[in-house]
């Protein structure tokens, strides 16, 4: 076949279908979701959409566990690399996205999803909005949006070249910009968050593309493997390499929420529907962290002496700013946002060890954190004031330990996990990342770990304060109307919270299985 076609012409790429089956399944589910929006009657859409999305994610998970696992290879002409880390992240993303999706599906006994508006484009309180409500507009478009985002996330850690990575980045980001703006309550905050996220995201994408172009100029290829080879062989073009690396990293660090590219995180996490914030904090962070690992370890590791100082500074800033600002927050969603920044910093500490142990511990951390943070945001969504809007001010949680002992106990457990207390997943994660840094990161690794430990102590104060408010404080009499109450969740939220909390405990008490799995799957294919 090849002999008939001149070599300069287009060569169709061979596709290992089994290896990319998870991606195909999610694509089909997302497209089906679009068709459902068009053709299925309004009152049935919720059930149909939820079924398709859940089946799609379960199918993708099954495909990861069966076909893809035995077909670890580079496919689609090097655009997709299915290797250990990619599979680990894809499998975990399917599970995390599933519980994230369940949390978004919360209807609280009404006939539409509680967190989402029916008409995202209209101004709050406007005529258009009222019209949309009277016409019975639905909110089920979030399902295909989420599935497309998941598709981008699944490609992200498996992208073998910078262009595929960019496509994945956009596929995962664009639906998230929309989802962010769909909050039903506090519409203005949500729309503002969406616009901010979009503008800053577009900006960072531009940086990324510019960097990719420079790297292409340097190596003559966008494939990470070729760039790695070029670093050893190409001379005289270093002026392209370093800026290229920096700009590509900026694009990825933006998605992770690393300081100084973090400014969007608190606004977006606060403005977005709470379940979407949880989904973003868990899944986007995991996918982006895996992509960053691949770019660094497969692509540009050979040149790391010239740029790792910058990454050290980013890691330290991320930890310090994340943890210090966490303590100053009075809104629980903003606090979780800043805490997610601090956690990103802790993960970066492991990433910078440039060792397999770093890959394993960073991925373990991101996965474990994902379970906890989805559960945390789902619980936040259940706490309402007397008007039924979310009680996100921490002061409104006073006395929750007495009014809602179960919810308070679960949230306490999650706070302890964020603080890194033994017997929760947070401790296992922290031990893993700091161990990777100390054992393999050289002198700087030790310093990063020490700073990380000190920052853990700082953030712990914020988490302990939430516990203190819940258990040892009582709401002032004049604030009684604003005091948070728990609304009764449906099965969807309950499953999301139960899974998240259970994994938080399991990964703390018996983490050996996942640690082993992460270690086995920590070798990138070139």
């Amino acid at each position: 076949m090849t002999s008939l076609v001149p070599s300069a012409d287009f060569v169709p790429a061979t596709i290992n279908v089994a290896a990319v089956a998870p991606l195909l399944i999610v694509t089909v589910a997302a497209l089906l979701g679009v068709l459902v929006e068009a053709f299925v009657p309004r009152d049935k859409r919720y059930v149909v959409q939820l079924t398709i999305a859940v089946l799609g994610l379960l199918g993708a998970l099954a495909a990861v566990l069966t076909g893809a696992r035995t077909n670890q290879t580079t496919t689609v002409a090097g655009a997709i690399v299915i290797d250990g880390p990619a599979l680990l992240v894809q499998g975990s993303l399917c599970v995390l996205a599933l519980i994230g999706l369940l949390a978004m599906s919360e209807r609280l006994g009404s006939d539409h999803m509680d967190a989402f508006t029916r008409d995202g484009a209209s101004a709050p309180g406007s005529h258009a909005e009222g019209l949309a409500q009277r016409l019975g507009a639905t909110t089920t478009e979030i399902y295909p949006l989420t599935m497309f985002s998941v598709l981008g996330m699944l490609i992200f850690p498996a992208a073998g070249d910078l262009l595929t990575l960019f496509v994945a980045l956009e596929v995962l980001s664009l639906p998230l910009y929309v989802l962010t703006g769909l909050a039903r309550r506090r519409r203005l905050l949500s729309q503002e968050a969406s616009l901010k996220y979009f503008l800053l995201g577009a900006f960072s994408s531009a940086f990324y593309l510019f960097g990719a172009a420079l790297l292409y100029g340097y190596a003559g290829s966008v494939r990470l493997h070729d760039i790695a080879t070029a670093i050893g062989t190409v001379n005289g073009l270093d002026g392209l390499l370093l800026p290229g690396v920096f700009f590509v990293l900026i694009g990825l660090l933006f998605k992770i929420g690393a300081v100084p590219f973090h400014a969007w995180t608190p606004d977006v996490y606060q403005g977005a529907p709470t379940a979407v914030s949880g989904f973003m904090a868990a899944c986007t962070k995991l996918a982006a962290m895996a992509a960053l690992l691949r770019v660094l370890y497969v692509g540009v590791a050979g040149d790391r002496w010239s740029f790792q100082v910058a990454l050290w500074i980013v890691a330290v800033l991320t930890m310090v700013v994340g943890s210090v600002v966490t303590i100053a927050q009075s809104d629980i969603k903003r606090m979780l946002a800043y805490s997610s920044i601090a956690h990103a910093g802790f993960i970066l500490v492991a990433v910078l060890s440039f060792d397999r142990a770093g890959v394993a511990s960073a991925l373990f951390y991101a996965i474990a954190y994902g379970f906890s943070v989805i559960a945390a945001f789902t619980i936040v969504a259940l706490l309402r004031d007397a008007d039924g809007s979310e009680a996100t001010a921490i002061s409104q949680w006073a006395g929750l330990g007495r009014r809602a002992p179960v919810v308070a106990a679960l949230f306490t457990l999650l706070m302890l996990a964020f603080a890194g207390i033994p017997l929760t997943s947070g401790f296992t994660s922290k031990f893993g990342v700091f161990n990777a840094a100390i054992a393999h990161g050289g002198t700087m690794g030790i310093w990063l770990a020490v700073i990380g430990v000190l920052c853990s102590a700082i953030t712990a104060w914020a988490y302990f304060r939430v516990i203190l408010v819940m258990y040892f404080a009582e709401p002032a009499p004049q604030d009684a109307a604003g005091a948070a109450r728990v609304v009764l969740p449906s099965a969807a939220s309950t499953i999301a919270i139960a899974t998240g909390v259970a994994m938080t405990v399991i990964l703390g008490v018996v983490p050996a299985r996942l640690l082993e799995l992460a270690t086995q799957n920590s070798q990138f294919l070139p």
């Binding site: 207390i421 893993g432 054992a439 020490v450 712990a460 258990y471 050996a512 640690l515 270690t519």
Partner: protein, 513 residues
């Protein structure tokens, strides 16, 4: 009998009791304290049976259990006791039912709140047994951190008017100390031989490591233990916490939990980092001396009884640390015995003081006066506890304080001499307190006050027996402790200084036997 996992049983029993206490239906809520007391008595019984399996002069760690836990981190569920941890566990198991009995009326509202209180106390007992029995450094750290949370809730939910601040202060101090230790722990893991049992104490002893690395790791561990012990200048959380905590919590906190600090020094700092221990000893001895005197002066100046007792503990912990870092067998034995005696002494002081405070409705010393005419028996018991606190001969605390001083004097005559002066201060803070509270004209009281009740007699009786027993016949305890301390000092690589002045050494040898 030897196949029974004694230590795991000791860990799990209180946890089971806690679970039962917590889930009792509302109709049976009033049984919470009975269940708790029964659990602690049963645990004590099992503990005593387990202790009979211990052979003096046998292997370093006995009643050993080991199951792989997280192979990737080289950690296992490994429990075992040597003489030091065995005596500490027994002391804790004796104090547990005493504290529960003393806490009988501490939560007057009853119901769910009372159930949670006793459940938390039982969880605390589990953590205490675990922390003393762990022979895996990682497992020790897990219990070490886990300890913080029952206390946090016990102080924060049930304590005095300023409880929230005290609880948070306690938690932050403990947590920061723990995290510094965590960094050192990870460093130690990186230095270890690796493999699924890398974190066992026995596998970490005698590692070859660089001088700087060893010193940094030593400091990391020592900092955590110094916060816990607590030593000057990281002691400030203790008076606040003890003042706000309920008496039973304060007893468990000061009497047992703080021992984790000095226990950790003996179990981890010295054997794992012998060179660094010798390097740091002079500074630590100075800090210990400052603690001895600073704690004593704080105690003399305290207006609050609970705060005063907590401050005396700072002084006593100074003695214990002094004995540990004097590096003589006599002093080390004294310190290990001091930990036991201090547990009983503090329990007696806190619990009897609590009985007085309950009757007076105030924990300020000036609010008392002439009290020995109101409740003569109680006043007598309080005097007894006080005399144990100032280490009167005949009390257990005397033997241990004397051993520490003599042992320190062998190596550091100046430090030993200075420390001995603190005995005078001890007499001052105890006797001044007694004088202000008990002597003087009889106060005029609106309602008649009962003297010691039957329950309270049961609380103080075991403590008095223990204090007198250890005072007149400390040999059994010392026989158990001595091999453990000898091993520790061998691991540090020091030998006792040759005898210079006959009389001091003779006494030391006599006592050490």
């Amino acid at each position: 009998m030897s196949n029974v996992p004694w230590l795991t049983v000791l860990c799990v029993l209180p946890l089971v009791g806690a679970a039962i206490t917590a889930v009792l239906p509302d109709s049976a809520a009033w049984r919470a304290k009975q269940v708790a007391l029964g659990t602690t008595l049963l645990t004590l019984l099992v503990g005593v049976v387990a202790a009979t399996q211990y052979r003096i002069g046998g292997a370093q760690f006995q009643l050993v259990e080991q199951h792989s836990w997280i192979p990737a981190f080289g950690t296992s569920w490994a429990l075992g006791v040597d003489g030091m941890s065995l005596t500490l566990i027994l002391m804790s198991l004796v104090l547990a039912p005493v504290c529960i009995l003393a806490a009988w009326h501490e939560v007057p509202v009853g119901g769910r709140r009372e159930q949670n209180y006793f459940a938390l106390l039982l969880v605390l007992i589990t953590c205490i047994v675990g922390v003393f029995a762990a022979t895996d450094v990682f497992l020790f750290y897990v219990f070490f951190e886990a300890l913080l949370f029952p206390v946090y809730f016990l102080v924060g939910s049930y304590g005095g008017p300023d409880r929230r601040r005290a609880a948070l202060k306690f938690l932050i101090f403990g947590f920061v100390g723990g995290l510094v230790m965590l960094a050192a722990l990870i460093g130690l893991f990186a230095q270890s031989t690796g493999g699924p049992t890398a974190m066992l104490v026995t596998n970490l002893t005698g590692l070859q490591m660089g001088e700087t690395a060893e010193r940094l790791m030593f400091l990391g561990f020592f900092f955590a233990f110094a916060v816990k012990a607590p030593m000057w200048p990281v002691h400030t959380w203790l008076p606040d916490t003890a003042q706000q905590a309920t008496p039973a919590t304060a007893t468990l906190l000061v009497g047992i939990l703080d021992k984790v600090g000095t226990f950790g020094m003996l179990r981890f700092c010295l054997p794992l980092f012998p060179d660094a221990s010798r390097w740091a000893a002079p500074v630590i001895i100075v800090l210990a001396l400052i603690s001895v005197f600073y704690g004593a002066f704080l105690a003399i100046a305290s207006k609050d009884i609970m705060r005063l007792i907590a401050c005396t503990s700072i002084s006593h912990f100074g003695f214990i640390v002094l004995g540990i870092f004097a590096f003589t067998t006599t002093a080390a034995n004294g310190s290990a015995l001091y930990m036991i005696n201090h547990g009983f002494t503090t329990a007696a002081l806190f619990l009897v003081a609590a009985m007085l405070i309950r009757r007076r409705g105030s924990q300020l010393i000036p609010d008392f006066g002439g009290w020995q005419r109101v409740t003569p028996v109680l006043a007598g018991v309080f005097l007894f506890a006080g005399l144990a606190g100032l280490a009167l001969p005949g009390m257990g605390s005397f033997v241990s304080e004397f051993l520490v001083l003599v042992g320190t004097f062998q190596r550091h005559p100046v430090a030993g001499g200075i420390a001995a002066l603190a005995i005078i201060l001890a007499a001052l803070y105890i006797l001044l307190m007694y004088q202000r509270m008990m002597t003087g004209p009889k106060p005029e009281l609106a309602t008649p006050v009962r003297d010691l009740t039957a329950r309270e007699k049961w609380v103080v009786a075991p403590l008095i027996v223990a204090l007198l027993g250890l005072g007149f016949y400390p040999k059994p305890a010392l026989d158990v402790i001595n091999p453990a301390m000898t091993t520790v000092l061998q691991q540090v690589g020091v030998t006792d200084p040759p005898p210079i002045a006959g009389i001091g050494v003779d006494t030391a040898k006599e006592s050490a036997k």
